[in-house]
Protein backbone atom coordinates (compact mmCIF):
# COMPACT_ATOMS: atom_id res chain seq x y z
CA UNK A 1 0.00 0.00 0.00
CA UNK A 2 2.67 2.43 1.10
CA UNK A 3 4.89 1.56 -1.86
CA UNK A 4 2.08 2.30 -4.31
CA UNK A 5 1.30 5.54 -2.53
CA UNK A 6 4.94 6.54 -2.86
CA UNK A 7 4.81 5.74 -6.57
CA UNK A 8 1.78 8.04 -6.81
CA UNK A 9 3.58 10.83 -4.96
CA UNK A 10 6.64 10.54 -7.19
CA UNK A 11 4.37 10.55 -10.21
CA UNK A 12 3.14 14.02 -9.23
CA UNK A 13 6.37 15.29 -7.72
CA UNK A 14 8.80 14.33 -10.47
CA UNK A 15 7.45 16.61 -13.21
CA UNK A 16 7.52 19.50 -10.75
CA UNK A 17 11.08 18.67 -9.73
CA UNK A 18 11.90 18.45 -13.43
CA UNK A 19 10.64 22.01 -13.94
CA UNK A 20 12.59 23.27 -10.95
CA UNK A 21 15.69 21.41 -12.15
CA UNK A 22 15.54 22.98 -15.63
CA UNK A 23 14.60 26.46 -14.41
CA UNK A 24 17.09 29.20 -15.26
CA UNK A 25 17.18 30.63 -11.73
CA UNK A 26 19.70 33.37 -12.49
CA UNK A 27 17.39 34.87 -15.11
CA UNK A 28 14.13 34.13 -13.31
CA UNK A 29 13.56 37.67 -12.11
CA UNK A 30 14.14 39.14 -15.58
CA UNK A 31 11.56 36.80 -17.07
CA UNK A 32 9.03 37.40 -14.29
CA UNK A 33 9.28 41.18 -14.39
CA UNK A 34 8.82 41.07 -18.16
CA UNK A 35 5.92 43.30 -19.14
CA UNK A 36 4.25 40.63 -21.29
CA UNK A 37 4.40 38.08 -18.48
CA UNK A 38 2.88 40.48 -15.97
CA UNK A 39 0.11 41.37 -18.42
CA UNK A 40 -0.74 37.70 -18.89
CA UNK A 41 -0.63 37.05 -15.14
CA UNK A 42 -2.89 39.99 -14.36
CA UNK A 43 -5.35 38.89 -17.05
CA UNK A 44 -5.31 35.31 -15.74
CA UNK A 45 -6.03 36.34 -12.15
CA UNK A 46 -8.71 38.79 -13.26
CA UNK A 47 -10.54 36.34 -15.53
CA UNK A 48 -10.22 33.31 -13.25
CA UNK A 49 -11.64 35.24 -10.27
CA UNK A 50 -14.56 36.41 -12.41
CA UNK A 51 -15.12 32.84 -13.56
CA UNK A 52 -15.11 31.67 -9.93
CA UNK A 53 -17.57 34.39 -8.90
CA UNK A 54 -19.93 33.46 -11.74
CA UNK A 55 -19.55 29.76 -10.90
CA UNK A 56 -20.60 30.46 -7.30
CA UNK A 57 -23.43 32.81 -8.29
CA UNK A 58 -25.02 30.34 -10.70
CA UNK A 59 -23.53 27.07 -9.47
CA UNK A 60 -24.88 27.15 -5.91
CA UNK A 61 -28.52 27.57 -7.02
CA UNK A 62 -27.95 24.82 -9.60
CA UNK A 63 -26.49 22.51 -6.94
CA UNK A 64 -29.44 23.30 -4.68
CA UNK A 65 -31.88 22.48 -7.49
CA UNK A 66 -30.15 19.16 -8.18
CA UNK A 67 -29.84 18.17 -4.52
CA UNK A 68 -33.14 19.33 -3.05
CA UNK A 69 -35.80 19.08 -5.68
CA UNK A 70 -37.37 16.28 -7.62
CA UNK A 71 -38.24 16.80 -11.24
CA UNK A 72 -38.36 14.56 -14.27
CA UNK A 73 -35.07 14.31 -16.11
CA UNK A 74 -33.03 15.53 -13.17
CA UNK A 75 -30.17 13.12 -13.79
CA UNK A 76 -30.10 14.18 -17.44
CA UNK A 77 -29.84 17.81 -16.33
CA UNK A 78 -27.04 16.92 -13.95
CA UNK A 79 -25.16 15.07 -16.69
CA UNK A 80 -25.67 18.01 -19.04
CA UNK A 81 -24.34 20.51 -16.51
CA UNK A 82 -21.23 18.49 -15.75
CA UNK A 83 -20.55 17.43 -19.32
CA UNK A 84 -17.90 20.10 -19.81
CA UNK A 85 -15.71 18.30 -17.24
CA UNK A 86 -15.19 15.39 -19.60
CA UNK A 87 -15.53 17.25 -22.88
CA UNK A 88 -12.18 18.02 -24.54
CA UNK A 89 -11.81 21.78 -23.92
CA UNK A 90 -11.21 22.49 -27.61
CA UNK A 91 -14.57 20.87 -28.40
CA UNK A 92 -16.08 23.06 -25.67
CA UNK A 93 -14.59 26.11 -27.37
CA UNK A 94 -16.02 25.13 -30.74
CA UNK A 95 -19.43 24.49 -29.16
CA UNK A 96 -19.32 27.93 -27.54
CA UNK A 97 -18.69 29.38 -31.00
CA UNK A 98 -21.82 27.70 -32.29
CA UNK A 99 -23.83 29.06 -29.37
CA UNK A 100 -22.41 32.51 -28.70
CA UNK A 101 -20.25 33.34 -31.72
CA UNK A 102 -21.14 35.83 -34.43
CA UNK A 103 -22.86 33.07 -36.42
CA UNK A 104 -24.01 31.22 -33.32
CA UNK A 105 -27.47 30.21 -32.17
CA UNK A 106 -27.75 33.15 -29.76
CA UNK A 107 -24.68 35.11 -30.77
CA UNK A 108 -26.02 36.01 -34.23
CA UNK A 109 -28.83 38.03 -32.64
CA UNK A 110 -26.42 39.83 -30.32
CA UNK A 111 -24.39 40.68 -33.40
CA UNK A 112 -27.36 41.76 -35.49
CA UNK A 113 -29.16 43.81 -32.84
CA UNK A 114 -26.33 45.22 -30.76
CA UNK A 115 -23.36 44.78 -33.09
CA UNK A 116 -21.78 42.80 -30.26
CA UNK A 117 -19.29 40.02 -30.87
CA UNK A 118 -18.27 38.00 -27.83
CA UNK A 119 -15.27 36.03 -29.22
CA UNK A 120 -11.88 37.76 -28.97
CA UNK A 121 -12.93 39.72 -25.86
CA UNK A 122 -11.89 39.31 -22.24
CA UNK A 123 -15.52 38.44 -21.49
CA UNK A 124 -15.14 35.47 -23.84
CA UNK A 125 -12.21 34.23 -21.74
CA UNK A 126 -14.41 34.42 -18.63
CA UNK A 127 -17.22 32.56 -20.43
CA UNK A 128 -14.84 29.80 -21.59
CA UNK A 129 -13.36 29.46 -18.11
CA UNK A 130 -16.76 29.42 -16.40
CA UNK A 131 -17.98 26.80 -18.85
CA UNK A 132 -15.27 24.34 -17.83
CA UNK A 133 -14.95 25.38 -14.17
CA UNK A 134 -18.50 25.59 -12.83
CA UNK A 135 -19.18 21.82 -12.76
CA UNK A 136 -16.44 21.43 -10.13
CA UNK A 137 -18.37 23.75 -7.82
CA UNK A 138 -21.73 22.20 -8.64
CA UNK A 139 -20.76 18.61 -7.86
CA UNK A 140 -18.91 19.58 -4.66
CA UNK A 141 -21.76 21.69 -3.29
CA UNK A 142 -24.42 19.23 -4.42
CA UNK A 143 -22.70 16.39 -2.56
CA UNK A 144 -22.52 18.52 0.60
CA UNK A 145 -26.19 19.49 0.33
CA UNK A 146 -27.19 15.84 -0.04
CA UNK A 147 -25.28 14.80 3.06
CA UNK A 148 -26.60 17.70 5.09
CA UNK A 149 -29.36 17.09 7.60
CA UNK A 150 -32.33 19.23 6.55
CA UNK A 151 -33.77 19.40 10.09
CA UNK A 152 -32.13 22.74 11.10
CA UNK A 153 -33.30 24.33 7.86
CA UNK A 154 -36.83 23.01 8.40
CA UNK A 155 -36.73 24.26 11.97
CA UNK A 156 -35.74 27.72 10.77
CA UNK A 157 -38.69 27.69 8.42
CA UNK A 158 -41.14 26.67 11.14
CA UNK A 159 -39.79 29.60 13.14
CA UNK A 160 -40.85 31.91 10.34
CA UNK A 161 -37.69 32.23 8.26
CA UNK A 162 -38.23 32.57 4.56
CA UNK A 163 -36.76 29.88 2.34
CA UNK A 164 -34.01 32.27 1.18
CA UNK A 165 -33.27 33.40 4.76
CA UNK A 166 -33.05 29.81 5.98
CA UNK A 167 -30.77 28.88 3.10
CA UNK A 168 -28.53 31.88 3.66
CA UNK A 169 -28.28 31.72 7.46
CA UNK A 170 -28.56 27.98 8.16
CA UNK A 171 -27.66 25.92 5.10
CA UNK A 172 -24.89 28.02 3.58
CA UNK A 173 -22.80 28.22 6.79
CA UNK A 174 -23.17 24.45 7.20
CA UNK A 175 -21.83 23.72 3.72
CA UNK A 176 -19.19 26.45 3.82
CA UNK A 177 -16.20 24.04 3.67
CA UNK A 178 -17.65 22.39 0.56
CA UNK A 179 -18.47 25.75 -0.95
CA UNK A 180 -14.92 26.96 -0.43
CA UNK A 181 -13.49 23.69 -1.72
CA UNK A 182 -15.71 23.85 -4.80
CA UNK A 183 -14.83 27.48 -5.42
CA UNK A 184 -11.11 26.72 -5.13
CA UNK A 185 -11.39 23.78 -7.51
CA UNK A 186 -13.28 25.94 -10.00
CA UNK A 187 -10.76 28.70 -9.66
CA UNK A 188 -7.86 26.30 -10.21
CA UNK A 189 -9.56 24.85 -13.28
CA UNK A 190 -10.27 28.34 -14.63
CA UNK A 191 -6.69 29.46 -14.04
CA UNK A 192 -5.29 26.50 -15.96
CA UNK A 193 -7.85 26.64 -18.78
CA UNK A 194 -6.24 26.54 -22.22
CA UNK A 195 -8.17 24.73 -24.96
CA UNK A 196 -11.56 26.41 -24.74
CA UNK A 197 -9.92 29.82 -24.30
CA UNK A 198 -7.66 29.66 -27.35
CA UNK A 199 -10.49 28.27 -29.46
CA UNK A 200 -13.29 30.58 -28.36
CA UNK A 201 -11.50 33.74 -27.21
CA UNK A 202 -8.31 33.64 -29.28
CA UNK A 203 -4.98 34.81 -28.00
CA UNK A 204 -4.04 38.48 -27.84
CA UNK A 205 -1.77 40.08 -25.23
CA UNK A 206 -3.72 42.04 -22.66
CA UNK A 207 -7.17 41.02 -23.95
CA UNK A 208 -7.35 37.25 -24.18
CA UNK A 209 -3.83 35.88 -23.76
CA UNK A 210 -3.89 34.28 -20.31
CA UNK A 211 -0.91 32.66 -18.57
CA UNK A 212 -1.40 29.16 -20.01
CA UNK A 213 -1.55 30.64 -23.53
CA UNK A 214 1.50 32.80 -22.85
CA UNK A 215 3.39 29.76 -21.53
CA UNK A 216 2.47 27.78 -24.63
CA UNK A 217 3.63 30.54 -26.98
CA UNK A 218 6.78 31.24 -24.95
CA UNK A 219 7.69 27.55 -25.10
CA UNK A 220 8.23 27.88 -28.84
CA UNK A 221 10.58 30.86 -28.75
CA UNK A 222 11.90 31.07 -25.22
CA UNK A 223 11.55 27.75 -23.39
CA UNK A 224 13.37 29.15 -20.35
CA UNK A 225 10.74 31.83 -19.89
CA UNK A 226 8.02 29.20 -20.32
CA UNK A 227 9.50 27.24 -17.40
CA UNK A 228 9.68 30.31 -15.17
CA UNK A 229 6.09 31.30 -15.98
CA UNK A 230 4.90 27.73 -15.34
CA UNK A 231 6.61 27.71 -11.96
CA UNK A 232 4.98 31.00 -11.06
CA UNK A 233 1.54 29.56 -11.89
CA UNK A 234 2.33 26.45 -9.88
CA UNK A 235 3.50 28.55 -6.92
CA UNK A 236 0.30 30.60 -6.92
CA UNK A 237 -1.99 27.56 -7.20
CA UNK A 238 0.01 25.62 -4.62
CA UNK A 239 -0.13 28.46 -2.09
CA UNK A 240 -3.88 28.83 -2.49
CA UNK A 241 -4.53 25.08 -2.26
CA UNK A 242 -2.35 24.63 0.82
CA UNK A 243 -3.55 27.68 2.77
CA UNK A 244 -7.22 27.07 2.08
CA UNK A 245 -6.97 23.40 2.92
CA UNK A 246 -5.35 24.13 6.24
CA UNK A 247 -7.78 26.88 6.98
CA UNK A 248 -10.97 25.01 6.19
CA UNK A 249 -10.36 21.30 6.57
CA UNK A 250 -6.80 20.22 7.11
CA UNK A 251 -5.79 20.47 10.72
CA UNK A 252 -9.22 20.95 12.20
CA UNK A 253 -8.81 17.66 14.08
CA UNK A 254 -5.39 18.50 15.46
CA UNK A 255 -6.33 22.00 16.51
CA UNK A 256 -9.41 20.67 18.27
CA UNK A 257 -7.22 18.32 20.25
CA UNK A 258 -4.63 20.98 20.97
CA UNK A 259 -7.05 23.66 22.06
Amino acid sequence: MLALAIVAISFFALPLIGLIWRAPWSKAWTYLSDHAALTALRLSLHTSLWATALSVLFGVPLAWLLARTQFPGRSAVRALCTLSMVLPPVVGGVALFFALGRRGLVGQWLYRWFDYQLPFTTAAVVVAQTFVAMPFLVITVEAALRQLDTAPEDAARTLGASRWYGFRRVTLPAIRPALVAGAVLSWARALGEFGATITFAGSYPGTTQTMPLAVYLARETNPEQAIVLSLLMIAISFTVLVTLRDRWFGNRHDTAVLS
Binding site: L4, G101, F120, R219, E220
Partner: protein, 253 residues
Protein backbone atom coordinates in the same frame (compact mmCIF):
# COMPACT_ATOMS: atom_id res chain seq x y z
CA UNK B 1 -3.38 -4.49 0.70
CA UNK B 2 -0.53 -6.80 -0.22
CA UNK B 3 1.71 -5.95 -3.13
CA UNK B 4 0.83 -9.03 -5.12
CA UNK B 5 0.13 -7.00 -8.23
CA UNK B 6 3.47 -5.22 -8.23
CA UNK B 7 5.57 -8.04 -9.80
CA UNK B 8 2.92 -8.33 -12.49
CA UNK B 9 3.10 -4.61 -13.24
CA UNK B 10 6.89 -4.71 -13.34
CA UNK B 11 6.76 -7.72 -15.65
CA UNK B 12 4.34 -5.98 -17.98
CA UNK B 13 6.53 -2.90 -18.04
CA UNK B 14 9.60 -5.00 -18.87
CA UNK B 15 7.79 -6.86 -21.62
CA UNK B 16 6.66 -3.64 -23.26
CA UNK B 17 10.13 -2.13 -23.04
CA UNK B 18 11.82 -5.18 -24.57
CA UNK B 19 9.19 -5.44 -27.30
CA UNK B 20 9.81 -1.82 -28.20
CA UNK B 21 13.54 -2.52 -28.29
CA UNK B 22 13.02 -5.44 -30.67
CA UNK B 23 11.09 -3.25 -33.08
CA UNK B 24 13.86 -0.70 -32.99
CA UNK B 25 16.52 -3.14 -34.05
CA UNK B 26 14.70 -4.29 -37.18
CA UNK B 27 16.15 -4.08 -40.69
CA UNK B 28 17.35 -0.59 -41.57
CA UNK B 29 15.74 -0.66 -45.03
CA UNK B 30 12.27 -1.31 -43.71
CA UNK B 31 10.40 -0.49 -40.56
CA UNK B 32 8.73 2.62 -39.31
CA UNK B 33 10.07 5.89 -40.61
CA UNK B 34 8.86 8.64 -38.30
CA UNK B 35 8.45 11.95 -40.14
CA UNK B 36 8.08 15.21 -38.18
CA UNK B 37 6.46 17.61 -40.63
CA UNK B 38 5.18 21.20 -40.45
CA UNK B 39 1.40 21.34 -40.06
CA UNK B 40 0.94 23.10 -43.41
CA UNK B 41 2.13 19.85 -45.04
CA UNK B 42 -0.58 17.73 -43.40
CA UNK B 43 -2.69 16.96 -46.47
CA UNK B 44 0.16 16.80 -48.99
CA UNK B 45 2.39 14.59 -46.86
CA UNK B 46 -0.40 12.22 -45.91
CA UNK B 47 -0.80 11.49 -49.61
CA UNK B 48 3.00 11.42 -49.98
CA UNK B 49 3.17 8.70 -47.29
CA UNK B 50 0.58 6.56 -49.06
CA UNK B 51 2.40 6.93 -52.38
CA UNK B 52 5.77 6.09 -50.79
CA UNK B 53 4.33 3.02 -49.09
CA UNK B 54 2.90 1.84 -52.38
CA UNK B 55 6.36 2.10 -53.97
CA UNK B 56 8.19 0.64 -50.92
CA UNK B 57 5.96 -1.99 -49.31
CA UNK B 58 8.62 -2.83 -46.69
CA UNK B 59 8.74 0.65 -45.23
CA UNK B 60 6.03 2.28 -43.22
CA UNK B 61 5.74 6.03 -42.72
CA UNK B 62 4.35 7.53 -39.51
CA UNK B 63 3.72 11.28 -39.39
CA UNK B 64 3.76 13.78 -36.56
CA UNK B 65 2.27 17.04 -37.85
CA UNK B 66 2.59 20.15 -35.69
CA UNK B 67 3.78 23.75 -35.82
CA UNK B 68 7.45 23.87 -36.89
CA UNK B 69 8.54 25.48 -33.63
CA UNK B 70 6.68 22.83 -31.67
CA UNK B 71 8.44 20.07 -33.63
CA UNK B 72 11.84 21.63 -32.95
CA UNK B 73 11.08 21.60 -29.21
CA UNK B 74 10.09 17.94 -29.43
CA UNK B 75 13.29 17.09 -31.33
CA UNK B 76 15.43 18.98 -28.81
CA UNK B 77 13.75 17.04 -26.01
CA UNK B 78 14.74 13.80 -27.72
CA UNK B 79 11.55 12.79 -29.53
CA UNK B 80 12.24 9.85 -31.87
CA UNK B 81 12.13 11.12 -35.43
CA UNK B 82 13.86 9.97 -38.61
CA UNK B 83 12.97 12.91 -40.82
CA UNK B 84 12.22 16.56 -40.04
CA UNK B 85 10.62 19.10 -42.42
CA UNK B 86 10.27 22.71 -41.36
CA UNK B 87 7.99 25.36 -42.90
CA UNK B 88 10.78 27.93 -42.79
CA UNK B 89 14.56 28.23 -42.65
CA UNK B 90 14.76 29.74 -39.17
CA UNK B 91 13.29 26.70 -37.40
CA UNK B 92 15.58 24.43 -39.44
CA UNK B 93 18.52 26.57 -38.35
CA UNK B 94 17.70 25.78 -34.71
CA UNK B 95 18.00 22.08 -35.57
CA UNK B 96 21.27 22.40 -37.49
CA UNK B 97 22.70 24.71 -34.81
CA UNK B 98 22.02 22.01 -32.21
CA UNK B 99 23.56 19.41 -34.59
CA UNK B 100 20.40 17.31 -34.50
CA UNK B 101 20.59 16.61 -38.24
CA UNK B 102 22.48 13.82 -40.03
CA UNK B 103 22.08 15.20 -43.56
CA UNK B 104 22.27 18.76 -44.88
CA UNK B 105 18.93 20.57 -45.28
CA UNK B 106 17.49 20.14 -48.79
CA UNK B 107 14.68 22.43 -49.98
CA UNK B 108 11.66 20.41 -51.10
CA UNK B 109 9.06 23.12 -51.68
CA UNK B 110 8.20 26.79 -51.42
CA UNK B 111 5.08 28.45 -50.18
CA UNK B 112 3.74 31.99 -50.35
CA UNK B 113 1.03 33.81 -48.48
CA UNK B 114 -2.53 34.86 -49.26
CA UNK B 115 -5.37 36.59 -47.45
CA UNK B 116 -7.98 34.09 -46.33
CA UNK B 117 -11.56 35.39 -46.18
CA UNK B 118 -14.95 33.82 -45.56
CA UNK B 119 -16.80 31.81 -48.18
CA UNK B 120 -17.85 34.13 -51.01
CA UNK B 121 -15.79 37.00 -49.53
CA UNK B 122 -18.77 38.60 -47.72
CA UNK B 123 -16.81 41.69 -46.63
CA UNK B 124 -15.52 42.38 -50.15
CA UNK B 125 -11.85 42.34 -49.19
CA UNK B 126 -9.62 42.92 -52.22
CA UNK B 127 -6.26 44.04 -50.89
CA UNK B 128 -3.92 44.10 -47.92
CA UNK B 129 -4.91 47.72 -47.28
CA UNK B 130 -8.50 46.57 -46.62
CA UNK B 131 -7.26 44.63 -43.58
CA UNK B 132 -6.59 47.92 -41.80
CA UNK B 133 -10.32 48.80 -41.78
CA UNK B 134 -11.42 49.12 -38.19
CA UNK B 135 -14.72 47.26 -38.63
CA UNK B 136 -12.99 44.05 -39.75
CA UNK B 137 -12.05 41.24 -37.41
CA UNK B 138 -8.56 40.16 -38.51
CA UNK B 139 -6.62 37.27 -36.94
CA UNK B 140 -2.97 36.46 -37.58
CA UNK B 141 -0.46 33.84 -36.46
CA UNK B 142 1.82 34.72 -33.56
CA UNK B 143 5.32 35.68 -34.69
CA UNK B 144 6.72 32.53 -33.07
CA UNK B 145 5.39 30.42 -35.96
CA UNK B 146 6.34 30.70 -39.66
CA UNK B 147 2.94 32.02 -40.79
CA UNK B 148 3.15 34.82 -38.20
CA UNK B 149 6.68 35.76 -39.18
CA UNK B 150 5.61 35.85 -42.82
CA UNK B 151 2.50 37.93 -42.10
CA UNK B 152 4.49 40.47 -40.07
CA UNK B 153 7.03 40.82 -42.86
CA UNK B 154 4.36 41.23 -45.53
CA UNK B 155 2.57 43.94 -43.54
CA UNK B 156 5.90 45.70 -42.98
CA UNK B 157 6.71 45.43 -46.71
CA UNK B 158 3.34 46.95 -47.58
CA UNK B 159 3.66 49.54 -44.77
CA UNK B 160 0.26 48.60 -43.38
CA UNK B 161 -0.47 48.60 -39.66
CA UNK B 162 -3.33 46.44 -38.44
CA UNK B 163 -4.59 45.46 -35.03
CA UNK B 164 -5.42 41.77 -35.07
CA UNK B 165 -8.00 40.42 -32.64
CA UNK B 166 -5.99 37.31 -31.99
CA UNK B 167 -2.50 35.90 -32.52
CA UNK B 168 -2.92 32.19 -33.10
CA UNK B 169 -0.33 29.58 -32.21
CA UNK B 170 -0.65 27.78 -35.52
CA UNK B 171 -1.84 28.52 -39.03
CA UNK B 172 -4.86 26.22 -38.74
CA UNK B 173 -6.07 28.37 -35.82
CA UNK B 174 -6.39 31.32 -38.21
CA UNK B 175 -8.07 29.17 -40.86
CA UNK B 176 -10.64 27.74 -38.44
CA UNK B 177 -11.60 31.15 -37.04
CA UNK B 178 -12.20 32.47 -40.56
CA UNK B 179 -14.09 29.38 -41.76
CA UNK B 180 -16.21 29.48 -38.57
CA UNK B 181 -17.18 33.03 -39.52
CA UNK B 182 -15.88 34.61 -36.31
CA UNK B 183 -13.02 36.39 -38.07
CA UNK B 184 -13.33 38.23 -41.37
CA UNK B 185 -9.80 37.74 -42.63
CA UNK B 186 -6.33 36.43 -41.87
CA UNK B 187 -2.98 35.92 -43.54
CA UNK B 188 -2.11 32.27 -44.17
CA UNK B 189 -0.18 30.15 -46.61
CA UNK B 190 -1.59 29.86 -50.13
CA UNK B 191 -1.79 26.11 -49.52
CA UNK B 192 -4.02 26.64 -46.47
CA UNK B 193 -6.54 28.57 -48.58
CA UNK B 194 -6.48 25.73 -51.09
CA UNK B 195 -6.88 23.12 -48.34
CA UNK B 196 -9.89 24.99 -46.91
CA UNK B 197 -11.68 24.30 -50.22
CA UNK B 198 -15.24 25.58 -50.36
CA UNK B 199 -15.31 26.81 -46.77
CA UNK B 200 -13.17 29.87 -47.48
CA UNK B 201 -11.86 32.06 -50.27
CA UNK B 202 -8.47 33.59 -50.96
CA UNK B 203 -7.28 37.04 -51.98
CA UNK B 204 -3.84 37.25 -53.63
CA UNK B 205 -1.02 39.21 -52.07
CA UNK B 206 1.11 41.02 -54.70
CA UNK B 207 4.49 39.39 -55.32
CA UNK B 208 6.44 42.58 -54.55
CA UNK B 209 5.39 42.50 -50.88
CA UNK B 210 4.77 38.76 -50.50
CA UNK B 211 7.15 36.47 -48.64
CA UNK B 212 8.40 33.11 -49.87
CA UNK B 213 8.86 30.42 -47.25
CA UNK B 214 11.24 27.51 -47.86
CA UNK B 215 10.54 23.96 -46.72
CA UNK B 216 13.88 22.31 -45.89
CA UNK B 217 14.09 18.60 -45.01
CA UNK B 218 16.74 16.58 -43.14
CA UNK B 219 17.45 13.10 -41.81
CA UNK B 220 17.82 13.45 -38.04
CA UNK B 221 20.93 12.45 -36.13
CA UNK B 222 18.97 9.99 -33.97
CA UNK B 223 17.30 8.35 -37.00
CA UNK B 224 16.80 4.65 -36.40
CA UNK B 225 16.10 3.95 -40.06
CA UNK B 226 18.43 6.37 -41.79
CA UNK B 227 18.46 4.53 -45.13
CA UNK B 228 14.68 4.34 -45.35
CA UNK B 229 14.52 7.97 -44.19
CA UNK B 230 16.82 9.04 -47.03
CA UNK B 231 14.70 6.96 -49.44
CA UNK B 232 11.64 8.91 -48.32
CA UNK B 233 13.43 12.25 -48.84
CA UNK B 234 14.52 11.12 -52.32
CA UNK B 235 10.92 10.20 -53.07
CA UNK B 236 9.70 13.67 -52.00
CA UNK B 237 12.29 15.25 -54.30
CA UNK B 238 11.42 12.95 -57.22
CA UNK B 239 8.95 13.83 -59.98
CA UNK B 240 6.01 11.90 -58.46
CA UNK B 241 6.70 13.46 -55.03
CA UNK B 242 6.91 16.96 -56.46
CA UNK B 243 3.67 16.38 -58.38
CA UNK B 244 1.89 15.65 -55.09
CA UNK B 245 3.20 18.86 -53.52
CA UNK B 246 2.21 20.89 -56.60
CA UNK B 247 -1.28 19.45 -56.41
CA UNK B 248 -1.67 20.97 -52.95
CA UNK B 249 -0.49 24.40 -54.09
CA UNK B 250 3.19 24.24 -53.14
CA UNK B 251 5.77 25.80 -55.46
CA UNK B 252 8.84 23.95 -56.70
CA UNK B 253 11.92 24.57 -54.50
Amino acid sequence: MRLRALPLIVALALISITTAACNDSSDAHSGDVVVFAASSLTAAFTEMGTAFNAANPDAHITFNFAGSADLVTQLTEGAPADVFVSADDSNMKKVTAAALNASDPVPIAKNTFAIIVGKGNPKGITSLADLAKSDLVVVLCAETVPCGKGAAKILANAAIAITPKSLEDKVKGVVSKVTAGEADAGIVFVTDVKAAGDTAAGVDIPADVNVISNYPIVVTKEAKHATAAQAFIDFVASAPGQAILAKYGFLAP
